[in-house]
Amino acid sequence: MGSKTDIWQGTLALMALKTLESMGSLHGYGIARRIEQTSGDLLSLNYGTLYPALLKLEQEGAIVSEWGVSENNRRAKFYKLSRFGKKQLERETQDWEQTTAILARFFAPRQEA
């Protein structure tokens, strides 16, 4: 547990988008938990940093929010991917895959050698 990784700059929004894509509609706490779980508890996420990121996505029109009732009967704000958000996610996923593929090539030769 001592080797938790801090979240990489700029990836939080992408993770939130991806989470919303797979989960449909979710509240902030749910998104935070989900990200942590997906990382296998390897990521150390300050839950509070999620909210400005969500606000930014909402301002850009990638997600929309509405108030609803959570599974344990609490009033909570639920977030949902918009059509533009879906497109943005596709684009950013591609970008991300390209980036990791490039990085992978940098590490590959050493493994071969």
């Binding site: 706490y29 400005p52 609490r74």
Partner: protein, 894 residues
């Protein structure tokens, strides 16, 4: 686009985000509760579960802060906070705010008002396409740089030049309009057919002139102004083809000019009627040496510079000189940028005034800076605490600047309001000869100017206190607990007051010089008595056209007799083409015994007044020698001439001029000098002495040859002097003239007194404005002085108290304070005098000063004394207050 949208949302988010903040709180609340529940479910105790959840969130306040930053624009937000805080501070010290905003408003308002005049007159482009290509064309002659072009020369210039895309001419004239109700005089303009196309003017109805219509014998056509169209034809479109009777001839209206066309080149007012000049039936049109008041306007070919065009026209002029040596010797085309020829005389006047009003704003800014400095000292505690709490210098500087900018923006708003009113007052005061004055209003450029000077002055006066504040050591300020530190350094404030005094003195000296000039001018003897004299235009009825010389002479006598019958009239006479300070005419001649010069330009010349026998009596000009023209000097009598004393001195020296003979150009017989009269200031009270052409001659109207006589009858000036000394009533003159013939018109009445005073109008305008600015400057500077001395007295109250406790009497304290003030005023006066010595040379060069030297000692001494007196009296109140300080009280506050 998306990021723009986000920006917009954030800008909106900066303002009024109360509801959203509550939503965030609710969201975080539910987040925490869910987290706590989860933790509890996993076995944590309640308190531990809450602590863990809060830690995992990263702190409630930090989250809120991060969220807020994302929500709005932090910079904008702090700006709003600063402005709000600034406004609150301003509201708290209302007295300070009112004084500062009023001071700034005055300064900015005066600048804005004057700039809107400058903008309309000097800066606004002329309302013609590619106006920068337009130039004015004159014929330069020996005596006169901007002489009239002869029509034949115009035709040759037009044909031979290679630099001009087009060259057109115009000549002002007057017409008697009959057949549409009462007869009236209208202003007309004879123009060549190129005139409107050259300017790019399109008619709103009908068409422009065709080039073939610009010839003698063609169908008479006319174009009319929009104003005339509305007034006479109710703006009906069927005006095209309507007849117009001008001077008894019928013209057909072919076009209406747009309302925006308002060009006053040869008349002082824009004309109503435009007629092709080529149709003008005047033999002088075919005389290469004749001057008919024709002036040209041209458009440069694209890419051709003024210099190249001037060189090309030199070539054309030189060719004509060789071809027509008798007429064209010494005649050259002179090209002046059109805009410059319109605004030339107004430029120095406006620039001097703009400079002066800039000084006023500078003084106003210094006042506010000084007020802020005093206040900054009182606020040192506040700022020390803030910087001790970690506010950075940049943050504090930003807040101070925001505060001063808030102040200057308030001042700017007030200034704009004042300027809107001030512009109206200035427009009413404007001298009538200021060109383009109709376009004066507050437009976008003026608004930009106001915004700019408001912001600039805000930064200017905001920096002084800000810089001063940072020089303070935070520690010692905190330790002293806000009390002023021993002998606080007032050097900044002192030097600002000195600077203010110097500026005010410069303005006062400028105004003083102008006032002295004006006094000198009002004592100048114009050479005639203007009081009780009325001048007006008179034109023979159209039916007289074609009448013989005897009939015209009879008509002139009859008209004079009829006008003299109006009540209160003492004497009446006619004059043609020349009247003092109104219009001028030239006579070329050579003296008896001299060989006849080869051409007109080689001849001597004088101002010529063609007048009736009663002229001296009407104008009150003294007869110095011999006799004046009489009724009997007509075409049967020998030709006679009367000269003024300048003429006699210049051409006959000490010899007796009576009986000498002068050969006049255009006449076969020589004229004999029969009298010498006093000199009349033809060129206005202030310009007469500097004008090269001053010698004057008088000839009798009745001795004119037949051709010219008919010309004279259709456009004379009449002069009437009253018995009572009041200006004769134009109404009663009008009615006796119409009784004589109902088709006859008198027009343009003007009291000779007004004519004389009008020649000084731009000088008077400058003097009044400069005096107002100088007084404002003096008042502002003395308020500044008062503020600083009061501040010093307040700061030194303890010192003064101790001195008094030690036995200093009230007189000593009073002297001590006054000495302090007078030292500042003296240094300011010294600097101001030095600056004024330099600057007054500039004013002297602009001919705004008359009859006084630029370093006139009386003005310098008097104005300095005035300023010292005002400065000392503004120190007196705080000094009195200092003497009332109770030593015991001052000591007890320690």
């Amino acid at each position: 686009m998306r990021s723009l949208r986000a920006l917009w949302i954030r800008i909106c988010g900066t303002f009024g985000n109360k509801r959203e903040a509550m939503e965030l709180d609710e969201e975080l609340e539910s987040h925490l509760l869910m987290h706590i529940e989860d933790n509890v479910r996993s076995g944590m105790p309640e308190a531990e579960a809450r602590r863990h959840a809060l830690i995992h969130l990263g702190g409630l306040e930090q989250t809120r802060e991060a969220y807020r930053e994302r929500q709005g624009l932090p910079g904008l937000e702090t700006l709003c906070q600063d402005v709000r805080f600034g406004l609150r501070m301003l509201l708290k010290s209302r007295g300070f705010t009112v004084v500062a905003v009023l001071t700034l408003g005055l300064g900015i308002g005066a600048n804005t008002a004057l700039f809107s005049v400058l903008n309309a007159v000097l800066l606004n482009p002329l309302p013609y396409p590619h106006a920068e290509e337009l130039i004015t064309v004159h014929a330069a002659k020996q005596n006169f740089n901007e002489g009239s072009i002869s029509y034949l020369n115009f035709r040759d210039w037009q044909r031979d030049n290679k630099a001009l895309a087009a060259l057109a001419v115009s000549r002002g004239t007057g017409y008697i309009l009959t057949g549409t109700g009462a007869s009236e005089e209208v202003r007309g303009e004879l123009v060549s057919s190129d005139f409107f196309p050259l300017l790019g003017v399109k008619p709103v109805e009908g068409r422009l002139f065709a080039s073939h219509e610009d010839e003698i014998g063609e169908e008479p056509v006319a174009m009319i102004s929009s104003g005339f169209w509305k007034r006479k034809f109710g703006a009906r479109p069927d005006v095209i083809g309507k007849p117009l009777t001008l001077d008894g001839h019928d013209y057909t209206v072919v076009g209406v000019l747009p309302a925006t066309f308002n060009l006053a080149i040869s008349n002082f007012r824009a004309s109503d009627i435009y007629v092709p000049i080529g149709q003008f039936q005047n033999p002088a049109l075919n005389d290469r040496s004749a001057g008919l008041g024709i002036h040209g306007i041209a458009r440069l070919r694209p890419g051709v510079t003024l210099k190249q065009a001037q060189a090309d026209m030199e070539r054309v002029s030189r060719n004509l000189e060789t071809t027509f040596p008798a007429d064209d010797q010494g005649i050259h085309a002179r090209l002046v940028p059109f805009k410059e020829s319109l605004v030339r005389d107004a430029r120095p006047l406006l620039l001097v005034l703009m400079g002066a009003v800039g000084f006023v704003l500078l003084i106003a800014c210094i006042n506010v800076a000084n007020l802020l400095l005093a206040r900054a000292n009182a606020r040192t505690q506040e700022f020390a605490v803030r910087s001790a709490l970690g506010a950075s210098r940049a943050r504090l500087l930003r807040q101070l600047l925001t505060e001063s900018l808030t102040l200057s923006v308030l001042g700017g708003v007030l200034g704009l309001t004042l300027a809107a009113l001030g512009t109206r007052i200035i427009v009413k005061m404007l001298p009538p000869d200021l060109p383009r004055a109709t376009g004066i209003h507050i437009d976008s450029l003026v608004l930009c100017f106001t915004t700019l000077i408001s912001l600039a002055s805000g930064i200017f006066f905001g920096f002084a206190p800000a810089l001063k504040m940072f020089k303070r050591d935070v520690q010692s300020t905190l330790r002293s607990g806000g009390r002023s530190i021993g002998s606080a350094n007032n050097r900044t404030q002192d030097s600002l007051v000195v600077f203010q005094m110097a500026l005010a003195l410069v303005l006062l000296i400028g105004a003083g010089l102008m006032i002295r000039s004006m006094v000198k001018l009002s004592n100048v003897d114009p050479g005639f008595h203007s009081k009780g004299v009325l001048t007006f235009g008179l034109e023979a009825p159209p039916a007289m056209s074609g009448a013989g010389p005897d009939a015209i002479r009879a008509y002139l006598r009859e008209a004079q007799r009829k006008i003299a019958m109006a009540p209160d009239i003492d004497a009446v006479c006619f004059s043609w083409a020349a009247l003092p300070m109104m219009s001028d005419d030239e006579q070329s001649f050579w003296l008896d015994g001299e060989p006849k010069p080869g051409n007109q330009n080689a001849m001597r010349s004088s101002i010529r007044y063609l007048v009736g026998a009663d002229y001296l009596r009407v104008m009150g000009i003294p007869l110095l020698k011999g006799r004046f023209l009489s009724e009997t000097d007509d075409d049967h009598a020998p030709r006679v001439i009367v000269t003024d004393e300048v003429f006699a001195k210049k051409f006959f020296g000490d010899a007796d001029p009576i009986g000498k003979r002068i050969h006049l150009d255009q006449f076969d017989d020589a004229a004999m000098v029969i009298g010498v009269v006093g000199h009349v200031n033809q060129w206005g009270l202030d310009n007469d002495a500097v004008n090269p052409l001053r010698a004057e001659t008088y000839q009798s109207l009745m001795q004119l040859p037949e051709q010219q006589l008919s010309l004279v009858a259709f456009g004379m000036d009449a002069l009437a002097r009253s018995k009572s000394g009041a200006v004769p009533s134009f109404k009663s003159i009008e009615s006796s003239v119409t009784k004589m013939n109902h088709e006859q018109v008198v027009y343009n009445p003007e009291a000779m007194d007004d004519v004389v005073s009008e020649t000084l109008s731009s000088r008077r305008f400058a003097m009044i404005l400069l005096a107002v600015f100088a007084c404002t400057a003096l008042v502002l500077a003395s308020i500044g002085m008062y503020g600083v001395i009061s501040y010093i007295v307040g700061q030194r109250a303890r010192d003064i108290g101790i001195r008094m406790a030690l036995g200093a009497n009230r007189g000593e304290v009073l002297r001590w304070v006054l000495r302090r003030g007078s030292r500042l005023a003296l240094i300011g006066a010294g600097c101001g005098l030095l600056a004024a010595l330099v600057l007054s040379q500039a004013i002297a060069g602009s001919s705004l000063v008359y009859g006084v030297r630029a370093y006139d000692p009386w003005t310098f001494i008097g104005v300095t004394a005035l300023m010292m007196a005002v400065a000392l009296s503004s120190c007196y109140l705080p000094a009195r207050r200092a003497t009332r300080i109770d030593p015991m009280k001052a000591l007890r506050t320690e």
